[in-house]
């Protein structure tokens, strides 16, 4: 994080391991106060009511900190870099900013957890050149045991018991991303499939099934935008093998879009292009609109899964 002598250049990405609220508060608040003393803007993104703990501990200083609810803003972990962090960082390019961001919590589903690990790995790439310090709290009491190993893989340094140490297992982001993709469960046999010729055709099939399964009209709009972006990229960049598959997974609809292309840019959909850019917002919109996005890409093709959570009254049907 931002130490007093200001020797850091570029990104500082640190995991903070804690076991209870007292340890959480002492770790987080100390770093926030140091940042405020150095006149550095601070963003705190924590799930649910956890921001209130920090607010109370900061007292009047809390007014100088921007707070957000990570459970909402970062529901899709792929949204955290472009939808939560990016604007704050580029809004203060003249100085170091400090972000406290808890992406990973105990009630995350298994695919969400995996997407969090991927997000933490990609954070190292997305802000590599920026004057930003990101502190990522991990609640060791609630999280599964392997969370420490995953934090070590994705954070160059860790903070525990009031002391900083270097990670012993930091792994290059592309290797982490590959390992996450490799763990993705296969497409279930019950999935329905459409080999589509036009994006319009894929959009209409996705809508029809989504409506029947119980998605609201607003969520159907989000869905058809997402399907059109992925399908549009397929049409623009690949020549064959475009298909749409769909199935229900507990409380979610999953739409998988396949093509023969290979996405080379690990940060595709994670970093907004400049305002004047004509294109480059397709996968970004997908991350901003869907509840979860999984990308598996390689020389033999790409599969992108778009997850849409069903409203409570529609869950368990179809």
């Amino acid at each position: 994080m931002s130490d007093a002598d200001g020797v850091h250049a570029g990104l500082v990405h640190e995991a903070m391991l804690y076991r209870d609220d007292a340890e959480f508060i002492s770790g987080v608040v100390g770093q926030i106060r140091a940042a405020l003393d150095a006149d550095q803007p601070v963003l705190v993104e924590l799930p649910g009511g956890r921001g209130d703990l920090v607010r109370d501990a900061l007292g009047t200083d809390a007014q100088r900190v921007r707070f957000g609810d990570m459970a909402e803003d970062g529901r899709n972990p792929g949204r955290i870099i472009p939808g939560v962090m990016h604007d704050f960082v580029v809004g203060h390019l003249d100085r170091r900013v400090v972000i406290v961001a808890e992406s990973t919590w105990a009630t995350r589903s298994a695919p969400e957890y995996a997407a969090c690990v991927e997000h933490e790995a990609l954070t190292n790439l997305a802000f590599a050149e920026q004057q930003v310090s990101i502190l990522c709290p991990y609640n060791l009491t609630d999280l599964p045991e392997h969370a420490v190993a995953d934090a070590e893989r994705t954070h160059p340094t860790l903070w525990q018991h009031g002391a900083r140490r270097a990670s012993t297992a930091y792994t290059e982001p592309h290797a982490v991303v590959d390992s996450i993709a490799a763990l993705q469960p296969p497409t279930p046999a019950r999935a329905r499939r459409l080999d589509y010729a036009s994006v319009s055709q894929a959009r209409h099939a996705a809508t029809e099934w989504g409506r029947r399964a119980g998605l609201t009209e607003d969520r159907l709009t989000d869905l058809i935008i997402a399907v059109s972006e992925v399908g549009g990229n397929s049409v623009a960049h690949t020549s064959h093998g475009r298909s749409l598959l769909w199935w229900q997974n507990d409380d979610s609809l999953v739409y998988e879009m396949r093509d023969g292309g290979h996405i080379q840019d690990l940060l595709a959909g994670r970093v907004p292009p400049p305002l004047e850019a004509e294109s480059g917002r397709g996968l970004l919109m997908v991350n901003l609109l869907c509840d979860l996005v999984q990308v598996k890409t390689g020389p033999s093709g790409t599969a992108i899964r778009l997850w849409m959570t069903l409203p409570a009254q529609a869950q368990g049907q179809v």
Binding site: S198, V199, S200, H204, T221, I225, S228, E276, E278
Partner: protein, 117 residues
């Protein structure tokens, strides 16, 4: 049914562009060519999207850029009855408006001259 072509009409003074069809990767070039024909008009330009059930992010970006350009040229772009996807994309990407000079109208019987201030 898949549509791979838009129906585009240019009407009246002030300029009114009426589009019918879905705007996505298959039709965006046709749409952008229609938008480009509005440049240089210094009054109101009405883009009638009441016959457009869907627009993708690329095409909404083109509308925003067109609106900004018309504004810089002393004109104004009024988008008439856009599909929900335009509203959603505009809200998510240009939420606080982000400098976008886009006017949205929902009147049933929209006529360009009534929009003048």
């Amino acid at each position: 049914m898949p549509t791979d072509e838009l129906t585009i009409s240019f009407l009246g003074d002030p300029v009114r562009v009426v589009i019918v069809g879905e705007i996505d990767v298959d039709t965006r070039e046709q749409f952008k060519a229609a938008l480009a024909r509005t440049f240089g008009s210094d009054g109101d330009t009405v883009l009638d999207l009441s016959g457009v059930p869907f627009m993708d992010t690329h095409s909404v970006t083109s509308v925003v850029h067109c609106a900004n350009r018309l504004f810089a040229e002393g004109g104004r772009l009024i988008v008439h009855r856009p599909p929900p996807s335009l509203r959603r994309i505009f809200e998510v990407l240009w939420g606080g408006d982000g400098g976008a000079r886009l006017y949205i109208s929902e009147k049933q019987e929209e006529r360009g001259e009534h929009e003048r201030r």
